[in-house]
């Protein structure tokens, strides 16, 4: 029997995701967002999810659809941006939001994948991140129901650092340019972003890939994320890519 992580049905690839699970989703805005898997998650229907992602999408698209369809109890993110759906629900008590500095989010996920339970970081020193008190959930009357907790700190070399804990999500949904049946992944340009650290961190990682390659066609040097971190691979049609990608004059390697 050979190792074959490939699944051709996106919904089947998400089997096991239950109400209340934590799901980390790759992407920076729409770049590198696993749109097919997010659609499938919406179709599948689990509720009370804890979503972890850098952003929550634009109104009406991607992860915002999960919020609109009442599937999300809690959202951990670094930047909500102009999303009105998330902002409204946060302020009216329908959505718990945990704001995390982007670098801390990336490192908490990396640490989760790397078996490092906690680490110290300077980020947020002297802010509400360190001291707590940032509203996480409001009541329907607009009072604060739950606040962020203060971070423990330690001093190294005369400076104060915040103790941050690893994130180990139940599931991770990632997007890659190329993959193979061992789960090896290769990314394109800035669509890489959070996908590798989420693939590392999640207990079960599902990767959608634009191109599924035979094992023999890739050199080990072409692998950006080794397949050991990936459990399921779903080939999807090209999406979100412009018809005529602009090559740089130096010929950026893809």
């Amino acid at each position: 029997m050979s190792i074959d992580k490939t699944l051709h049905d996106a919904r089947a690839a998400l089997s096991g995701i239950q109400d209340g699970d934590s799901v980390a989703v790759g992407g920076f805005g729409a770049s590198g967002l696993p749109t097919t898997l997010v659609e499938a998650l919406l179709d599948l229907g689990p509720r009370d999810l804890h979503i972890i992602s850098n952003n929550c999408g634009a109104d009406g698209f991607g992860l915002s659809r999960l919020i609109e369809e009442n599937r999300v109890a809690k959202f951990t993110l670094s930047y909500l941006g102009q999303n009105q759906t998330a902002a409204r629900r946060y302020l009216s008590g329908d959505l718990e939001v945990e704001f995390v500095p982007q670098g801390t989010l990336a490192e908490r996920l990396r640490a989760g994948g790397a078996g490092v339970p906690a680490f110290y970081s300077p980020t947020g020193r002297g802010t509400m991140i360190e001291f707590g008190g940032l509203p996480r959930r409001y009541t329907s009357d607009g009072d604060v129901a739950l606040e962020s907790r203060p971070r423990r700190t330690e001093t190294f070399n005369g400076e104060r650092f915040l103790l941050e804990e690893a994130i180990v999500p139940d599931f991770g949904l990632v997007h890659a340019h190329r993959g193979d049946r061992w789960g090896n992944l290769r990314f394109r340009v800035t669509a890489r972003n959070f996908n590798p650290v989420i693939a590392m961190a999640a207990r079960t990682t599902i990767a959608e890939v634009q191109e599924l390659l035979p094992l023999s066609s890739t050199s080990g040097d072409d692998v950006h994320l080794p397949g050991v971190f990936v459990d399921r691979v779903v080939p999807v049609a090209d999406e979100g890519e412009a018809v005529d990608p602009v090559p740089s004059s130096a010929g950026v390697r893809t």
Binding site: Y79, F99, G103, E241
Partner: protein
């Protein structure tokens, strides 16, 4: 006469030093790559995993997946590299980015920066700002001198939630260029036709003239 956004960005571009690695925040800072003098070679970093960011919104067909921190399409340049968010923030937090240029709601005379939240009104989130202000060796703020209500943004103390304490080194507004050195604010250059007294009326921070 106040400076335009283009002029502010051009002044920020002239602060950059040859060979620096520079992170650009969203909004006005994205105008900077086009305005760097041809005598300088600078490497632009984008928090979402790119070194060697070229012009924003290049003409013609573009690659939807190739974007900057503001989620605008950008071009790459010869020497570009791509990497993941873990490595991107290792570069930032580990002190490998020389200069960060970003916007602000408020900057205090000691160099405190508030740019991520207006309680009860606006919570866009933090993004990479808190990492950047501590990791970058030099922080340049580009902003309007007063807010839409006409209130000063260069203040004696930040009233909005802080992004970082004592982190800002240079402030460039539509009315002047300021330096913050050892927790003191110095006026380096007012905009044409703007006097120090004019500035005092729209600045609640205390500032000194630059002494060379």
């Amino acid at each position: 006469m106040t400076w335009t956004r283009q002029k502010i960005a051009a002044k920020a571009a002239r602060e950059l030093r040859n060979g620096e690695t520079v992170n650009l925040g969203i909004g006005l800072p994205t105008l900077i790559p086009d305005l760097v003098p041809p005598s300088l070679e600078v490497v632009f970093h984008s928090e979402n995993g790119m070194l060697g960011v070229g012009n924003a919104s290049p003409d013609g067909p573009h690659d939807d997946q190739l974007i900057n921190a503001g989620k605008q399409p950008v071009s790459s340049v010869p020497g570009t590299s791509f990497f993941d968010s873990g490595l991107s923030f290792a570069m930032i937090r580990g002190g490998h980015v020389d200069t960060a240029v970003l916007g602000a709601f408020q900057v205090s005379q000691q160099g405190d920066l508030a740019n991520w939240m207006v309680p009860g009104k606006l919570v866009r989130g933090i993004g990479g700002a808190m990492d950047l202000v501590l990791g970058a060796k030099r922080v340049i703020v580009t902003m309007e001198h007063v807010d839409p209500a006409g209130d000063p943004k260069l203040v004696d103390a930040c009233t909005l939630p802080v992004t970082g304490h004592g982190v800002v080194d240079v402030v460039i507004t539509d009315r002047g260029v300021f330096d913050i050195v050892d927790s003191r604010l110095y006026l380096r250059e007012p905009a044409p036709g703007v006097s120090a007294d004019d500035l005092r009326e729209v600045t609640s921070a205390r500032f000194l003239p630059t002494t060379d």
